[in-house]
Subunit: 312 residues, 2 copies
């Protein structure tokens, strides 16, 4: 049994082809080869714990991921998110590895899903990348977009000067040219690849300002309450893609847009089917596409396996 | 973060007062101070995985336990049960300890619950202990009964000579005088403290042969299918106790006896209430009492904490 520390994980990550591995996971999921039971949830006075677990049929391992959010941790100077991943052998139930990732692999697999969505759905010529938000996902999403687009011009939207400056400072050595705005409309008007990463409960982007030929990846909303895109955007979109259709009917942007009657379930495509080519993706540079990502346990399984295999 | 190996666990266990700790857990559970979400379950081609988790309000830790059963492992010469326990801080979600117990602490906490049931429900003068079954629980249950009764005479029932001989050999140095039978009725007729530990799907003990003044602890049945006691025994009993009443309505002996109309929910007492004295236990040496144990996550929480605190 191998215990893998956060230091080892950080060291190994740049050399792992996460996009290819997680793409395989989405394909298996959409082809119904993944077994993903309902998420376990533990609600405590100061935080929440989620247990995501499952396996791909015929694979060597199954994975159990524990991730927590304790929002008063900041006061104590420690990270609000925490957790670990556990890899077990499908053949015997023996534990193969404990990945002490402290929640980092969850952040990374979420960003990799964004990169995968952009790889398959963004227009050929990305002129400017728009990032809505300034937190961890706003940083990691941009970092991993580097692998799927040549565009290096970025417009970031943040709620305040401080957040924007922190973001710019953190991304200083990222190789991107980053400008900022506090007007989200400016992002829609100027960018044709947009990633939204906030926990907003009110739409930040409106349909009227979205330009034709834009792809939007929405990763911030993962509950029935949160919403970053006005539902009208999903209605206007030529293609609306979910990482998991069943999950998107219960949370996220798609849930909101179906609930308000802007779109219906038949309008949805699933990311794994776009990747495999089973479902047609973007067919012209003028189309508007939206990917709504709420996070699926196959991402956890694939990143845990990929890291484990690279360390071994 | 402390990683505790199976060797460390085996070394520390004899010095931990497990009965007292797990009694506290049952009391907290029956007083509704324990948060125990539904068990997570993963079914694979060759095995099953259960994820039990929860916490006691106001406590320092929450616990997640992973336990698996892979029944073809014996062919490979490795244990069919496996698993580990994880201890996290309720205050921050940080991991405090990983207990690499390989499923052993689950076996132990199950046996400790049997000892607790006997401590509170067995007649004053135990003349002979009856053990139904010859497997791990048949061994551990007897081992831990030593702490709660002076009786050292045992009659063990097994399905065949080989199993019985293996059992006797394993228990050679246990300090018990062990006789055996292949007729379960003989156990009922001769023993007034009986523990049933098999995965039988047909009743092994019948009401007619149970003597007055007997206490029976049934630990083998933990699914809706398994049954070791004829439902008539529960009907005849003066007191029927569950470790968890809600759980006993869905699995185990009580589930069977309610389904067949032999008893009803109002007849049930809960172990934590017997321990705390909130519910009256055995009131005479002539009563028949039954404890049906299907296993509750508080047992896992308490044993994990007790081991962790002893190692620290």
């Amino acid at each position: 049994m191998k215990i893998i520390t956060i230091e080892q994980i950080n060291e190994i990550l740049p050399s792992v082809d996460l996009i290819t591995e997680i793409e395989k996971g989405f394909i298996a999921y959409s082809q119904k080869h993944a077994v993903v039971p309902p998420v376990g949830e533990l609600v405590l006075e100061k935080g929440e714990v989620h247990i995501k677990y499952g396996y791909i049929e015929g694979d060597k391992y199954y994975v159990i991921k524990i991730a927590s959010g304790f929002y008063e941790n900041a006061k104590l100077g420690i990270s609000s998110s925490n957790g670990l991943m556990l890899l077990f052998k499908q053949e015997t139930g023996e534990i193969a590895s404990i990945l002490l990732d402290e929640g980092h692999l969850t952040d990374v697999r979420t960003s990799i899903a964004g990169a995968i969505a952009a790889k398959h759905l963004a227009p050929k010529n990305v002129t400017k990348i728009g990032i809505i938000g300034t937190g961890i996902q706003a940083r990691l999403q941009l970092k991993y977009l580097k692998d799927v687009t040549d565009c290096r011009e970025v417009l970031v939207w943040g709620r305040g000067e401080k957040q924007i400056n922190d973001y710019k400072r953190a991304m200083e050595t990222s190789g991107f040219l980053i400008k900022s705005t506090q007007n989200a409309n400016e992002v829609s008007l100027n960018c044709n690849l947009i990633v939204t990463t906030t926990p907003s409960k009110e739409p930040l982007l409106l349909a009227t300002s979205i330009q034709s030929g834009t792809h939007i990846t929405a990763v911030g909303s993962d509950t029935p309450q949160k919403q970053e895109l006005h539902a009208e955007i999903l209605k206007r979109a030529d293609l609306v893609v979910a990482d998991s259709i069943p999950q998107s009917l219960e949370r996220g942007e798609i849930y909101k847009a179906i609930k308000s009657g802007h779109i219906s379930e038949e309008n949805l495509a699933e990311l794994g089917n776009i990747i495999s080519g089973n479902t047609e993706g973007r067919t012209s540079n003028e189309q508007i596409t939206v990917a709504d990502l709420t996070g699926v346990a196959v991402q956890d399984m694939m990143i845990a396996k990929a890291v484990y295999n690279s360390v071994s």
